[in-house]
């Protein structure tokens, strides 16, 4: 398998503060890789080191399997932390500079501006833009030269709900073209909706990484309801294959199975055979949020 990014034993200290502690993982080509962590967990520090604007204290990285150089960075569209542009220049002129640095011949500046709905404001100065527009211009800049890898640090920062949905669609569309996307976020929902892989960080430590399914599901769960809760509990406890039965929210009863073995039809059948009619039956994957809180709350 080809890896776009390999991080090897990476550490970074700011004085006595350890922002990254021996982080190691790889991002396979063609994945949408979410980096999840609360504020101050080291996400931006890590991306900063990858992009050579921060110097690591220890360890190293590889881009496209090689020791990174400026030429590798030109093949990656990156939005890091905040949109950084020349305030006194127009959207178009700012993108011209970015394209020149990326050595993009005949950049499709109009095209990328249209993709992020900024074409109408192309000649306005950057300093007149709202935060959401600045963010969209930064995403437009990432798309210049149609790079195979995109790095987004909090891409929906400052956007309104419509803008967030647009960017999400854009990310999905880019991903469907087979491009690799590395996305840092503290918004679980965002990661859950678009990512194939996820790594969870806290205080500079990598807690877990893998596919979203691997990280999220360590068991299957069904939420059930019936008129008589106590009877329901008894019936479910008698069901073969269950690993745990517990009270859930709003008077529901949760039944757990090992991964991949829960079947709603069988649960329904089992209850019916025992003279019980279910009023509620929903299969639930443990949400990334629950998983995340569980992991980061030590």
């Amino acid at each position: 398998m080809n890896y776009v990014l390999e991080i090897n034993d990476l550490s970074k200290n700011y004085g006595s503060v350890q922002a990254l502690k021996n982080v190691t993982y790889k991002v396979p080509q063609g994945t949408v890789y979410g980096i999840l962590g609360p504020n101050g967990s080291g996400k931006t520090t890590m991306l900063g080191i990858i992009m050579d604007i921060l110097r690591p204290t220890g360890g190293g990285i590889k881009l496209f399997g090689e020791v990174p150089t400026a030429a590798h960075r030109r093949r990656i569209g990156t939005l890091l932390e905040t949109p950084n542009f020349y305030h006194y220049m127009s959207a178009v002129d700012n993108l011209k500079i970015a394209a020149a640095i990326k050595r993009v011949e005949n950049p499709d500046i109009e095209g990328v501006l249209k993709k992020v709905n900024l074409y109408e404001r192309r000649d306005s100065k950057f300093q007149t833009f709202s935060l959401g527009m600045k963010q969209r211009l930064a995403i437009a800049s990432c798309l210049l030269g149609n790079p195979d890898v995109l790095v987004f640090d909090e891409p929906t920062n400052g956007l309104d709900p419509v803008g967030i949905a647009e960017i999400r669609d854009l990310i999905r569309r880019i991903a469907s073209e087979g491009k690799t996307i590395i996305m840092a976020s503290h918004l679980l929902d965002e990661v859950e909706k678009v990512c194939t892989h996820v790594s969870i960080m806290k205080k500079g430590v990598l807690l877990a990484n893998g596919t979203v399914d691997e990280i999220m599901a360590n068991d299957d769960m069904a939420e059930t309801g019936a008129a008589d809760i106590n009877q329901l509990k008894q019936v479910l406890q008698s069901m073969p294959g269950q690993t745990k039965v517990e009270m859930g929210e709003n008077g529901r009863v949760n039944i757990h199975f090992s991964i991949g073995s829960a079947e709603p039809g069988k649960i329904n059948q089992h209850c019916f055979n025992n003279g019980l009619t279910l009023t509620h039956l929903v299969m639930k994957k443990k949400s990334l949020e629950a998983k995340f809180l569980e992991m980061t709350n030590e």
Partner: protein, 264 residues
């Protein structure tokens, strides 16, 4: 390097402060020289100036020295321009974005050093043209004798601009850099050599150790030359030149090393 220079050109082309400062510099060069030209004419008309100098400072060949010396007092302008060009990158965080987009750290700092060189060349060119204008309008006979003062002026302006660049690289903030650069250049850099004169028995050794004063030492005081030489021991321009070149090498290596090794 051509592409990189084009990128820098795009940055300054739309930058109004740059053009205003550049225009002010041109006006100031003409203005300050015109004022001293008038004063000099008045003095010559009202008193018998015989023996005060080695000729009219606004005639060829002395005019090269005179105008270079006068104009060197205005070198803070190109210094300010350099400070703004550097501190803008820090303020807008575009120094990070340029690296992220695919400049190497070395490319980024080398292009700025080249911009400093270009500003020094253009500054010298402006002063050269204004000198030519004054010299020819004054009706004197044209001479290239003493043209080396334009070379000294170039080194002097390069030192002022590089010093400004290093301050901006260290402090990152425009207002702070401009303030410290100006106060340092105008006061501290001049006061220390003056104080040191006493301990060096009137000799100008103090001027050799100050980063800007040593560049000033390249351009001797042009008026009342005979008297000045008799009273005041001025720095030796050749020693100053060697020290200036050493400073230029230092500014280059310091800027490159600093930008390559630190967190941006």
């Amino acid at each position: 390097m051509k592409t990189l220079l084009q990128i820098e050109w795009m940055k300054v082309r739309n930058y109004r402060t740059f053009w205003i400062l550049a225009a002010l510099f041109v006006i100031a060069v003409i203005g300050i020289n015109y004022i001293s030209f008038r004063i000099n004419t008045e003095v010559n008309n009202t008193t018998s100036a015989v023996g005060l100098g080695t000729g009219n400072p606004f005639d060829f060949p002395q005019i090269w020295n005179t105008m270079a010396w006068m104009s060197s007092m205005l070198l803070y302008f190109p210094g300010f321009i350099m400070i703004f060009l550097i501190s803008n990158e820090f303020t807008f965080k575009t120094h990070r974005q340029n690296i992220i987009d695919g400049l190497s750290r070395k490319e980024f700092v080398m292009i700025k050093l080249n911009v400093a060189l270009i500003i020094a060349i253009v500054t010298t060119l402006i002063v050269f043209l204004v000198t030519l204008l004054f010299g020819l309008l004054g009706g004197g006979k044209f001479s290239l004798e003493g043209i080396e003062y334009m070379g000294y002026f170039f080194i002097c302006s390069f030192i002022y601009i590089l010093f400004a660049m290093v301050i901006a690289l260290l402090l990152r903030k425009a207002a702070l850099s401009v303030g410290i650069y100006f106060i340092y250049g105008l006061i501290i850099d001049n006061v220390i050599p003056a104080l040191l004169r006493k301990s060096f028995d009137g000799k100008p050794y103090g001027s050799y150790i100050m980063p800007l004063d040593v560049a000033d030492g390249l351009l001797p005081f042009p008026f009342f030359k005979n008297q000045v030489d008799a009273i005041l021991k001025t720095p030796n321009p050749y020693i100053c030149l060697v020290i200036c070149i050493a400073w230029i090498i230092f500014y280059y290596s310091f800027s490159i090393r600093k930008f390559q090794n630190e967190d941006l």
